[in-house]
């Protein structure tokens, strides 16, 4: 059984017990425990089920690489699936549930897959479930979906908040082991701005566990002193529980800092996502131990040797009473020694090498531990827990000579540097024969913007498995020099570790294992990929490592191959008779370990999901029944509903009132861009299809803008302010886009033209005062002369109204007598209120965007986004009059001359009147007889705007029709969703006040 030892435990505080539950069972751990160590201390070895075969699964590792021991953590709005027990700090009241089983962890029906495992080799999905056709969707796939997946799907909105922050530094050091600390000391003393981050809650990494001596003292003491010194440096920032998730081009790094995972609900944000720009990254990220591939290596109780040591030393937990250590290197002997010294039984060290006589094996022998060299584990016996191992010759085929009873197996296949941050941005690796590992190739680093190395690796991460401190010292000095800092010349602290003799690569155990054994050797524990699966993939031609990975799902589990990749590669290389480096690795992708999506989204949720732009009158709208619609980032009133009204009724009322009395529209969102300078006129002549340079001061002109292709992209009224200043109105949705468009041309193409632009959309509040009573209202306010003579149609003037300084444009988008009045944004709300107060006598009512749309449609005015969709040229809309024939050029001119756009058969704008007064459906098409070569119904036109006109009391529409203007009076049919048709007559698109008498009064 696994249990808590009577003494020891570097990280735990036995005087602070913590209660928690696992699958409802009440258990107790203590402060400093991880969930994993606490579960082990309670003899909870069986923790989950594997993905495919639903085999029993227990802890394998002690850190972020853990593939098996994942749980559903918490409940309701704090439920987190797939939480690694090994990286979860225990807290009081923690609730965890195991995953991927039904009905229970101990008895899981899904385990039938295990008994059928022989029928389910790697890639079997692709070979079966093919017939009958409908069965995949309706039968097989649902079964597979339900048996796959791991944790439960949360149901609720996340109860926690996430914070995001930016930071800069010269040197980001990742990993708070002795290598990272030494690097930080050197860099800190040199005066660089340094960040040192460590993913766990503790400094020091492996060295204190392994009993290293640094600078003449026990590693733990050296670590404490180093942290103390670093804490005192202003230029050094230290962060625990902070994981560097990914490195991106140009020194961009993403860090995920866990703030309140271990104190849930304390009011702090749960995580903080750091987005950092750094001069250099020094990855002192250590190394991860490799499992060995022997039959039954997935049975709960089989763990990595280093992890077994961690549990014993850090948390005083013994994974078993009687442990077999199996290895191909000296390092694992440390585990045997630690266990023995803790008073536990070590049944034997099974060493695949023929000779093991380094200091560590000798010490083990001296402690009375049985060491068997040249031996291997033939198979592990046991179901939900290791019961025994059968021992055989490593060189043989697996004939067992002895059986050793035991309840834990500690395995070590050597160590692999953690090179993720190096590789994310393209750093290359080389194969190190002696340690059988990939390590960074310093000659091919990931590059920074200036072409120098962006990442350096240090210590074990750099392949220096034993001389980490010295390597870190050397690497940080290279980094500092490149950054322009001078390192103080200080002695490198000595790092004393036991000598180790060479490892011997062992990729399967025993070497000559037959297929029956290979079918039980797990490479990827979570995804159930075995040695035989990789060999099958290779045999079937899935030879590229990416093919093998995808075909077998090797390395695609939540640990992303941290434990399985190298072993899988080696098996693949062997199957292909190739060298490991020839086969190559799969690509490392961010993040290093998974990051909550909530942390990546940050605070951008709910109301502040995106910036909300409000006009100065927004509050008034809100208080007066506005039914809002999003328009870009703005929210505009669609209509103002009165009690008992539907939105539709409100729109009708607003239209009628505006046409008969007086309507007020908040037009503040309308884009307003000032274009100024000696070349402004020339610039606008290029931008608009019409001529703006000749516009007299004091006048307004309607203009169209096209993209280079000739397609209409925006429209609006331009006012000439003075000799070198124009004010361009754009559509509400188009202001930012058009401003960027202007700048694009000015900065990239016409950079020698003397023009400035300024987007002043938010500097002004603008109100359209519309309707027969418009002038009466303004006159009642007193101030400037707004008479027909003083301010004719399409003119503007500065002045005051009711004491407000304003600029008044006589323009109309409704066909009514209309003034658009701009006041400084700060005055907008007051001015709007005044208009309502004074307007009451003239029947003033506010109206929204929908009434605006209806009224412009009644007048046959086009709307960008309705009549246009990126494929429409002004000529299609009968706007030839707004295109200058005289100008040599404007944006889009050449585009419009291309054969397809100049084709007389293009669909053109007309109006439609339904025969029965009904409203044509939005988006309806006008089909014609027959089908095209692809058997699609031929079409000849479509509706672009369709409304019920309250003014005319029937449905009106605008639309595009092939040769439309030549077909006035013809009746065409529009599609309906129910399959029927709506007949309509082709008419002029101007339905109301064709001669413009109302707006010109």
């Amino acid at each position: 059984m696994s249990t808590r030892l009577k003494s020891g435990g570097r990280l735990i505080d036995r005087s602070a017990p913590l209660d928690f539950t696992f699958n409802g069972k009440r258990l107790r751990g203590c402060a400093g425990d991880t969930l994993a160590s606490a579960l082990l201390a309670n003899d909870q070895m069986l923790l989950g089920r594997s993905f495919k075969y639903h085999r029993p699964r227990g802890l394998v590792a002690s850190g972020a690489e853990e593939p098996n021991a994942l749980v559903n953590l918490g409940q309701g709005a704090r439920l987190e699936p797939n939480q690694r027990t090994t990286t979860t700090e225990l807290f009081d009241g923690l609730e965890a549930r195991s995953q991927n089983h039904w009905p229970s962890l101990d008895f899981d029906v899904g385990v039938v897959n295990n008994y059928a495992a022989r029928l389910l080799p790697g890639g079997f999905y692709y070979k079966t479930f093919i017939h009958p056709r409908a069965a995949w969707k309706h039968f097989f796939e649902p079964i597979i979906r339900h048996s796959a997946g791991l944790g439960s799907a949360p149901k609720d909105r996340d109860a926690d908040r996430y914070e995001q922050a930016y930071a800069f530094c010269d040197l980001l050091i990742v990993g708070g082991g002795v290598a990272g600390l030494q690097a930080a000391l050197v860099a800190g003393r040199a005066g660089a701005r340094v960040w040192l981050v460590e993913q766990t809650a503790h400094w020091g990494g492996r060295a204190p566990v392994d009993g290293d001596v640094v600078g003449g003292m026990p590693a733990a003491d050296w670590v404490e002193a180093a942290v103390l010194e670093l804490s005192a440096m202003d230029n050094v920032t230290l962060r625990l529980r902070c994981m560097a998730a990914g490195s991106y081009d140009h020194g961009y790094v993403l860090l995920d800092e866990k703030l309140a995972d271990h104190t849930p609900g304390d009011g702090r944000p749960r995580h903080r996502l750091w987005r950092m720009r750094v001069g250099k990254i020094l990855a002192a990220t250590g190394a991860i131990e490799r499992p060995l591939s022997f039959a039954g290596n997935d049975i709960p109780g089989v763990m990595l040797a280093g992890a077994v040591r961690d549990y014993a030393v850090n948390w005083a937990v013994s994974p078993g009473d009687r442990t077999v250590v199996v290895t191909n290197n000296d390092d694992a002997y440390r585990t045997a020694i630690v266990l023995k010294e803790a008073g536990l039984e070590v049944a034997a060290v099974i060493d695949a090498r023929n000779i093991a006589n380094g200091p560590l094996p000798e010490r083990a022998r001296a402690l009375g531990i049985r060491v068997e060299t040249g031996r291997a584990i033939a198979r592990v016996k046991g179901g939900k827990r290791v019961e025994a191992v059968e021992i055989c010759q490593q060189a043989g085929e697996g004939a067992a000579s002895t059986t050793l009873s035991c309840d834990a197996v500690a395995m070590s296949g050597g160590w692999s540097p953690v090179v993720h941050l190096w590789s994310h941005c393209g750093g290359k690796l080389i194969w190190d024969e002696s340690e059988a590992m990939f390590r960074p190739d310093a000659t091919r680093p990931p590059l920074h913007a200036d072409g120098t190395a962006m990442v350096l690796c240090a210590g074990a991460a750099n392949g220096a498995l034993r001389q980490a401190v010295a390597d870190a010292d050397a690497q940080v000095k290279i980094a500092l020099q490149a950054l322009g800092f001078e390192a103080e010349s200080e002695e490198v602290p000595a790092h004393d570790v036991a000598d180790e003799s060479a490892l011997e690569p062992v990729w399967i155990m025993p070497q000559g294992a037959g297929i029956a054994l290979r079918s039980k050797m797990w490479l990827d524990f979570q995804n159930d990929v075995k040695v035989s699966d990789v060999q099958l993939a290779a045999r079937e031609g899935y030879e590229s490592v990416e093919h093998t990975k995808r075909y077998t799902t090797l390395g695609m589990a939540t640990d992303q191959g941290k434990l399985s990749n190298i072993n899988g590669l080696a098996v693949l290389a062997d199957s292909l008779n190739a060298q490991i480096p020839q086969v190559g690795t799969t690509t490392f992708r961010p993040p290093y370990t998974p990051v909550p999506l909530g942390a990546l989204a940050g605070e951008a949720r709910g109301e502040i999901f995106q910036p909300l732009r409000k006009t100065p009158m927004h509050d008034w709208h809100q208080q007066n029944g506005a039914y809002f619609e999003p328009v870009g980032h703005w929210r505009r009133p669609y209509c103002f509903q009165r009690p008992g009204e539907t939105p539709e009724q409100a729109v009708h009322r607003e239209v009628k009132n505006t046409r008969e009395a007086l309507g007020l529209l908040d037009a503040s969102t309308l884009g307003k861009i000032i274009v100024k300078g000696p070349d402004a006129g020339r610039f606008l002549d290029m931008l608009y299809t019409g001529v703006m340079s000749t516009l007299p001061i004091g006048k307004c002109r309607y203009g169209l803008m096209c993209n280079e292709q000739g397609f209409l992209s925006d429209d609006g009224v331009v006012a000439r302010i003075d000799a070198d200043t124009w004010l361009c109105h754009t559509t509400s949705g188009g202001a930012d886009r058009i401003h960027a468009w202007m700048e694009d041309w000015l900065q990239c193409e016409w950079w020698d033209w003397q023009v400035f632009t300024a987007n002043v959309t938010e500097q002004y509040a603008q109100v359209a005062v519309v309707g027969p009573n418009a002038r009466k209202l303004l006159e009642s306010l007193g101030g400037m002369d707004v008479s027909k003579e003083a301010l004719p149609f399409m003119h503007w003037a500065d002045g005051t109204l009711g004491g407000f300084a304003c600029r008044v444009y006589r323009i109309s988008f409704s066909g009514e007598l209309s003034y658009e009045i701009a006041v400084p944004a700060s005055q907008g709300a007051a001015f709007w209120a005044l208009l309502h107060k004074a307007g009451a006598a003239f029947g003033a009512m506010p109206y929204g965007t929908e009434a605006l749309h209806v009224m412009r449609a009644e007048k046959g005015f086009i709307m960008i986004g309705d009549e246009t969709d990126g494929t429409i040229i002004p000529q299609d809309l009968g706007l030839d009059w707004a295109i200058s024939k005289k100008k040599p050029d404007y944006l889009g001119k050449r585009g419009q001359e291309r054969s397809f756009l100049a084709n007389p058969d293009r669909w053109k704008l007309v109006g439609f009147e339904t025969l029965d007064g009904s409203v044509i459906e939005d988006g309806a098409y006008i089909p014609e007889h027959g089908v095209n070569a692809n058997n699609q119904r031929r079409v000849q036109g479509r509706v672009t705007s369709t409304y019920h006109s309250p003014t005319l009391g029937r449905g009106i529409a605008m639309g595009l029709l092939r040769q439309g203007p030549a077909r006035m009076g013809e009746v065409v049919e529009f599609t309906r969703m129910d399959g029927g048709v709506t007949p309509a007559r082709v008419v002029d698109p101007v339905f109301f006040d064709k001669d413009g008498e109302k707006q010109n009064v």
Partner: protein, 415 residues
């Protein structure tokens, strides 16, 4: 070729699966072929397949500089739909979608086409009108789509938040037989079938030059030597500009990074595919249980198969807002592919200025769904030397004439 079936698996199980043969052979190139396809992505392999199957042209080589299916075909988010707006697109994508329906049976390889339904959310009035238009158009094009209410959306996707507050869902365009398939399997299934027809799939073979005589293609230089051919098909997605350059012409195509990511796997919680264009993101759940997530392209051209982080962030904001329950899931892996974007966001299946040299590219962010239809149309073009009705509108000269097939009208995110 040994046929795949549950019986075959049972039979092979007796011998511990030692008896399976290679899914495709790994031959050395011959001196020349009747047709050479550059690029063993989905489109290249499908082109070869239909050349053999529909036109009897089997002396074919498919040259791949990396490993087959390793380009965008193996990187995409596998959304399949045909609810396109413009007639030529709807025809091509619907052809592809309908071929997908029976592709597993046809190839004897389970490509896991799963017509689980696809929703495109409308979150502005403008978008509502746009999708209503698409429904009307699709009805006439023979593509089965419909408009559904927010309540129906909620029924189909219980985990969705339809109430905003910023962008309440106003309805959705629904294609019941849209869905997903297993991307690798599509490439592998076609590759196996091509190999079975005697075609040569040559991996690790980069084309470095195109040779011609009198304006007619004669062969290609490759990292494995010169290979002669009577006809050449260029089907290299993000590298189209480079290979076109070798063949002596330029393309109206830009290459950009498009990214995607997956969460850790969880138990099934969403059966349909949801795309949200106003907020810019889309999501589905794979059979493994991962939430598969994507968004828009980076705003600059590049060839590195990674993207900038801010796009991931933007996409996740959109999706956490749309599906609040995903907030506590974790991002497992993010990656990128280089997509070939044309000016009108529609592909090019076309003759080229070089005789007997044809190009298929410009699938941009959304070509996985088109693979069978595109291969069909491209094979037709290569075999006959003239486009059939499916490809007719997609020639590369349309840009010169202004004859765009603009799909950005209908979808901001075109996957």
């Amino acid at each position: 070729m040994k046929r795949y079936s549950v019986f075959a698996i049972a039979r092979e199980a007796l011998s511990h699966h030692q008896g399976w043969e290679r899914a495709w052979k790994s031959p050395l190139p011959k001196a020349s072929y009747d047709a050479v396809i550059i690029g063993a992505g989905g489109h290249g392999l499908a082109t070869a397949y239909y050349l053999g199957k529909n036109h009897g042209i089997r002396n074919v080589a498919i040259l791949e500089k990396g490993w087959l299916g390793g380009g965008n075909t193996g990187r995409n988010t596998t959304i399949i739909r045909s609810n396109y707006l413009q007639d030529p697109s709807a025809a091509l994508y619907e052809k592809a979608r309908s071929l997908y329906e029976t592709l597993s049976q046809e190839l004897n390889y389970n490509i896991m086409f799963s017509p689980r339904g696809l929703l495109m959310l409308a979150q502005t009035h403008h978008e509502v009108r746009g999708y209503l238009r698409t429904v009307h158009a699709n009805n006439l094009q023979g593509v089965s789509t419909k408009w559904i209410t927010p309540e129906r959306v909620k029924q189909l996707v219980p985990i969705i938040n339809i109430d905003g507050p910023r962008y309440p869902i106003l309805g959705a365009l629904y294609q019941a037989r849209g869905g997903t398939a297993r991307h690798d399997a599509v490439a592998w299934g076609y590759a196996r079938a091509c190999s079975d027809m005697g075609m040569d799939i040559i991996q690790q073979c980069e084309v470095t030059g195109v040779r011609s005589e009198n304006g007619q293609v004669t062969g290609v230089e490759t990292s494995k030597g010169y290979i002669g051919t009577k006809k050449l098909g260029i089907v290299v997605a993000g590298h189209s500009g480079q290979v076109a350059d070798m063949a002596g012409f330029r393309l109206p195509v830009e290459s950009m990074a498009l990214q995607a990511l997956v969460s850790e796997p969880i138990k099934p919680c969403m059966d349909v595919v949801v795309m949200a264009n106003t907020v810019h993101g889309y999501m589905s759940q794979s059979d493994k249980g991962e939430m598969v997530i994507g968004g828009g392209t980076d705003g600059f051209n590049n060839y590195t198969q990674r993207g900038s982080f801010h796009h991931i962030e933007e996409t996740l904001r959109a999706l956490v807002e749309t599906f609040p329950m995903i907030s506590r899931l974790k991002m497992l892996r993010q990656w990128g592919g280089i997509v070939d974007m044309t000016g009108d966001r529609s592909p090019i299946i076309s003759k080229t200025p070089l005789g007997n040299c044809f190009i298929n590219c410009g699938w941009g962010t959304g070509g996985f769904k088109a693979i069978p239809g595109s291969g069909w149309a491209m094979a037709d073009l290569m075999a006959r030397g003239e486009p059939g009705p499916l490809a007719a509108e997609f020639d590369m000269w349309r840009f010169r004439e202004g004859r765009f097939i603009d799909e950005s009208v209908a979808a901001g995110v075109a996957h």
